[in-house]
Amino acid sequence: MHELSMTAQIVDSVLEEAKKQDAKRVTEVHLVIGKLTFLGIEQVRFAYNILVNDTIMKGSKLFIEEKDGVIECPSCGYKGAIQCEDDPAYHVPIPTLRCPKCGKAAKILEGKECTIKRIKMLK
C-alpha cells in the first residue's frame, strides 16, 4: 500500500548516491526485499518506472531479490525459516512466530529488509 512512498525513498537514495559519484546515468539498481515486508514487488516496479522519469535513472534496469523470513528463538536459540501453521480451520496456512523447537515466541531475524544492494552507473 505504501509502495509509492517507499519506492520514492529508494529513488531519492539512488539519485543521492549517483550525485555523490558524479554519475551521468544510472543503469542498474539491485534491491533486496524481505518477504515479511508489506511491499508488493509488482507495485514497486510500477512505481519505480514512473518515478525515474525525468531523472538520470530513466531507462535503468531494476533487479529485485526476495529474501525469505528467518526467525531466531531467544529462549532455546533455534534459528531457521519461519514456520507455517496449517490448520484446516484457518483456511490458509498462517505464518507463526512459534518456535518449532520449544514452542515459545521467536523473533524475526531476516525478511523485513528493503535494501539498496547495488547500483550501476555511468560516469
Binding site: M1, H2, S5, M6, Q9, I10, S13, E17, Q21, A23, T27, L36, T37, F38, E85, D87, A89, Y90, H91, V92, I94, P95, T96, L97, R98, C99, G103, K104, A105, I108, K112, E113, C114, T115, I116, K117, R118, I119, K120, M121, L122, K123
Partner: protein, 225 residues
C-alpha cells in the same frame, strides 16, 4: 561503500557501488531515537493500530477515562483529514495533537518525532498514539513505542487475524472489540484469540466492548499500566 568497482570501456566508465541503504531501517533508527527520548522523560508510549471502524478512538476514550487520574496523558491522533476524533478525545481533558497525514496510509517515526516537539514530555507520563485506520501499512513502521496494540472487531468478520499475520507479529497486545455483537455476527471471539496466539505465542489478548467499557481493565492489565 567498501566495494566500489570501476570498469573502463572505451570512453565510458561504469561504476558499481554497494550502498546497502535499508529504507525500512531508516524509520527503525528514528523510532529508536523516539523511544530513547521518551524513556529519558519516563514517558510510556503506546501505538494503537487497527482497521477503519474497529473502535480505536472509542477504546482510547475509555482508556483515557480510566487512566487520567493515574497518569498525565497526551494523545496523538493520526488521521488522513479532519479533527473529529481529536475533538472526541479532547473532551476528556487531555492534550491531543492531530497528525493529519493527508494521503499517507500510516504514521511513521518521523511524523511522531515532529508531533513530540509540540508537547512537553516533562508534563506527561503516558502517550497514546492512534495510528491511521489501516491493518496493513502501520505494521511496517515502528514509532518508538513501548507497546503496540492491534484492534480488530467482530463486525469485520472471522478472518481478520489469519489474513494479516504479519501485522499481528509486530503487536504485543490484540484487542477483539465489539464483543456484544459476536453472536449476531456469528464470530467466535475465542477462535480469534487462539489465532492471535498461534501467530505470536506471547501475545496478550483483551476482548472488549469499547462503548460500555467492558474488558478495558483486561486491556490496561495487558498494557502493564
Amino acid at each position: 561503500m567498501a566495494n566500489n568497482k570501476e570498469v573502463m570501456k572505451g570512453e565510458e566508465v561504469t561504476l558499481e557501488i554497494e550502498p546497502g541503504t535499508d529504507i525500512i531501517e531508516v524509520n527503525k533508527q528514528l523510532a529508536q531515537k523516539n523511544l530513547k527520548l521518551m524513556r529519558k522523560h519516563n514517558v510510556k508510549a503506546i501505538d494503537i493500530m487497527g482497521s477503519i471502524g474497529a473502535g480505536k478512538t472509542s477504546l482510547i476514550e475509555k482508556l483515557v477515562q480510566s487512566l487520567k487520574h493515574k497518569y498525565r496523558i497526551a494523545v496523538f491522533k493520526g488521521d488522513l483529514t479532519t479533527t473529529i476524533d481529536a475533538d472526541r478525545i479532547g473532551r476528556h481533558g487531555v492534550k491531543v495533537v492531530t497528525i493529519n497525514t493527508g494521503l499517507e496510509c500510516h504514521l511513521d517515526a518521523n511524523v511522531v518525532a515532529r508531533a513530540v516537539e509540540r508537547i512537553s514530555l516533562q508534563d506527561i507520563d503516558l502517550l497514546i498514539i492512534e495510528n491511521v485506520g489501516n491493518l496493513i501499512c502501520p505494521a511496517e513502521f515502528p514509532l518508538g513505542t513501548e507497546k503496540r496494540v492491534v484492534v480488530v472487531s467482530v463486525t469485520e468478520g472471522p478472518y481478520m487475524v489469519v489474513k494479516h499475520p504479519f501485522t499481528f507479529m509486530t503487536a504485543d497486545v490484540t484487542v477483539i472489540n465489539k464483543k456484544d455483537l459476536a453472536k449476531i455476527m456469528k464470530v467466535d471471539t475465542e477462535q480469534l484469540k487462539k489465532q492471535a496466539k498461534e501467530i505470536k505465542p506471547n501475545m496478550k489478548v483483551a476482548v472488549t466492548n469499547a462503548l460500555t467499557g467492558e474488558g478495558i481493565e483486561e486491556l490496561i492489565e495487558a498494557l502493564e499500566l
